[in-house]
Amino acid sequence: MESDAMDSAVALETRSISKKFGGIVAADNIDFKVYPGELRCLIGPNGAGKSTLFSILCGFQQAESGEILIFGQNVTKKLAFERVRLGVGLTFQTNRAFHDLSVRENLAIPHFALKKDNIKVENKRLDYALGAFGLDLNDPTKAGELTHDQLQWLEMSMALSSNPNILLLDEPTAGMAEEETSKTGKVLKFLNSIGLTIVVVEHDMDFVRNVAQSVTVLHQGRIFAEGSVEEITSNEEVKQIYLGKG
């Protein structure tokens, strides 16, 4: 109990999470910690277990063993929506905004889940993101009519709409051109600078170099390396697994 209280200074934590698919170990005893105010990138080659870890964190899959804590609360057995209510915002690798609803409705939906007195809370992060992405809170356009980039941004804004304390993004820049990628990176950096904790699963090393403060490298279901961007990018072993020489 005492250690739980001490670790509530940790935003997100996994304690020896393991998960197997048939004979393949997708997560092998992962101890992963993110502190409040961090902007962490989670990287690794294909099949390293990034997606598995992400879906275990979100509650889409249950780990076979281990524990998950969000702001010191044990959420191992909790369902996805219960974790979200603890202050987690998340987006998917594939775009999953509601195409049949308008932009306005898409952004309003996260609100209805909140208690009444929270609705009026000023959401500076959302306002900033909408401004930077060029989206309008009252846009009646159907989300299905937006471009791919706008849809990705809409999803991030939806996640921000419920005013989360931690944002989990699964490849937010997938399919974006260079300019849009760098815009996304700038927005995430700014949101982080005003206090939002962010974890990004990424593929694109340029994006990681530009955005991340700290990086966790996964390889074969294990944490392979962890450290600052400089440490990781200059790590020879990391270069090897990325180039497939490992």
Binding site: L79, F81, V84, R96, F98, F112, A113, M158
Partner: protein
């Protein structure tokens, strides 16, 4: 007041323009005038087409807005009908009997739907299995009710009646006034309009938006902080209560009910109404329920054996050529027309 207006005339259903609301009021007015032009018998027949509308709209809500197909919603129609018969029948000396019967009938449907919905949605049963489970449930109910012939199957003074059904069910009554013929028609009309406006406000509210979001993408809605299971269960109960309203109106209209009301043939009808009308619009389904009810009733009362074959044909034509529903597609064409004309004028 403004909120109420916004909720009534929102994006959740077809028709928000002035032209629409004027025509809507005009049609409602026609429905109110209609009885003065026809016999009590004709008015009573029209009441029958009206009384199915809540069941149809319940299907639209559940299937069209929430994305869950129930193939056995007539079960809740039947439960309400039988419970009303039992309660009102036993309280036939009491002028409050029918009202207590209505509450008991609808309450019974809601409780059964909540228990059924709990097991289906909280177990996260896959979507395509739900129509089968609901159909099996209503067929079981039919089989059970079918074997209730004989004196041992009675509740108080009311006999369940097996395949011959329950007879002599009291009509609706307020004080000493009994609703029959013309007055029953008006009673149905008011109930149907109240259900429509209630549902239209529901689908335009935040609750309704979340319902549509669940239809679009369950997991995404859950990751925005919603207990999708609870929402689906609630919508299921609400649509069961709507089916129950139709069930109660049905027995108040005909004063009898048989197990075939929860049988396979009847179970298919609400699905047909919703599909032909356009399940994503309450109004389109309300209109198709009325029209298809009228066609079926007219054909079968003329001794035509092929009423159901014709209804089946309409369904096939809809599926092939109007996948989103005939009434909905006509409404959309009309809408474009009207906006073109009004643009041309300005």
């Amino acid at each position: 007041m403004n909120t109420a207006l916004r909720l009534i005339s929102g994006e959740g259903d077809i028709g928000k323009t002035g032209v629409f609301w004027i025509s809507f009021l005009f049609v409602v007015l026609l429905f109110f005038i209609y009885p003065s032009q026809v016999s009590a018998f004709r008015a009573s027949n029209s009441a029958y087409y009206l009384l199915n509308i809540p069941l149809g709209m319940g299907m639209a809500l559940l299937w069209g807005y929430c994305g869950v197909l129930s193939f056995g919603h007539v079960a809740y129609f039947g439960i309400s009908a039988y419970l009303y018969g039992i309660i009102a029948g036993n309280l036939s000396e009491n002028s409050w009997g029918p009202i207590i019967g209505i509450l008991g009938g609808l309450g019974g449907s809601a409780i059964v739907a909540a228990v059924f919905g709990y097991f289906v949605f909280y177990a996260r049963v896959q979507k395509w299995i739900i129509p089968i489970l609901t159909l099996v449930f209503t067929l079981l109910l039919e089989t059970f009710l079918g074997q209730t012939a004989g004196y041992q199957w009675r509740v108080g003074s009311v006999l369940l009646g097996g395949y011959n059904g329950m007879t002599g069910i009291p009509s609706f009554q307020l004080g000493d006034y009994i609703f029959q013929g013309y007055s029953f028609y008006y009673y149905c009309l008011v109930v149907v309009l109240a259900c429509y406006f209630f549902l239209r406000m529901t689908v335009n509210s935040g609750f309704g938006k979340v319902t549509i979001a669940i239809r679009e993408d369950e997991l995404r809605t859950e990751t925005l902080g919603y207990d999708v299971r609870a929402r689906q269960c609630l919508i299921f109960v609400l649509s069961a209560v709507l089916a129950g309203i139709s069930g109660v109106l049905y027995v108040q209209w005909g004063n009898y009910v048989t197990p075939s009301q929860v049988g396979l043939l009847q179970a298919a009808l609400p699905v047909v109404w919703a599909a032909v009308g356009g399940r994503t619009s309450l109004l389109a389904v309300a209109m198709s329920t009325f029209c298809l009810g009228w066609i079926t009733f007219t054909l079968s009362s003329q001794g035509n054996q092929y009423a159901m074959v014709i209804i089946g044909g309409v369904l096939i034509v809809t599926m092939l050529f109007f996948p989103r529903g005939i009434f909905l597609m006509i409404a959309e064409i009309l809408g474009r027309w009207v906006s073109k004309i009004s643009k041309g004028n300005t």
